[in-house]
Symmetry: C2
Subunit: 122 residues, 2 copies
């Protein structure tokens, strides 16, 4: 499957981790810390974005619906379709909470998708 621009849309998960993330105006705002997959629906759920933090200690991550990221060959990274202000005010989480089965994940997913006004088809 190729994208409208003719690039392949297939990527190795290991290549995504650590990739830079840019806002729509081209400023580097952070990186992809990890990807959250949903085993049951076979969907890519979130990119967990990191925006800095002191040596990663105590850093909170921003779960952003995967469909909001588009790869820019020019940038060599992902452009996220949201302003930096919107991203900074967005729901955050410890990385471990992103996969916990204590209600947090469900809440977080609803909250995050609602916050960014992104629809889900599952």
């Amino acid at each position: 499957m190729t994208t409208p621009s003719g690039h392949t849309s297939a990527i190795l998960a290991s290549r995504v981790k650590g990739t830079n993330v840019y806002n729509p105006t081209g400023d580097k705002i952070g990186h992809v810390e990890d990807i959250v997959l949903d085993k049951e629906s076979n969907r890519i759920m979130f990119a967990a974005l990191g925006f800095g933090g002191f040596l990663g200690m105590g850093e909170k991550f921003h779960p952003v619906p995967w469909s909001m990221l588009s790869y820019s060959k020019d940038k060599g990274g992902y452009v996220v379709q949201a302003s930096t202000d919107v991203l900074k005010s967005a729901p955050t989480s410890d990385l471990s909470d992103l996969t916990k089965n204590d209600g947090k994940l469900g809440d977080l997913r609803e909250t995050s998708y609602a916050y960014y006004k992104v629809g889900r088809d599952w």
Copy 2:
């Protein structure tokens, strides 16, 4: 979202890489080398399984439809719903070919899903 057994179905991609893979009779047969994601459909396309090879040099990987893997808490790894014989005879690929945009990916995807008789919903 939780699985029927009550476990969360959300996983971090980085945790999947390197996880052991077992056949249905419980024998360890290899590991998950990487995951191939489809950016366009937001789907998890393949697990690229490694079954050994000399220090990974020249190793071919087995793209297995992601839905064929189920996590076993007892094993601490994934059980793949195919016999070792079926897996050994399955389509293989260099890891880099799994994301190339030269027709190989499309062919490989069709071939692999057809080989394992796994339906796709996209």
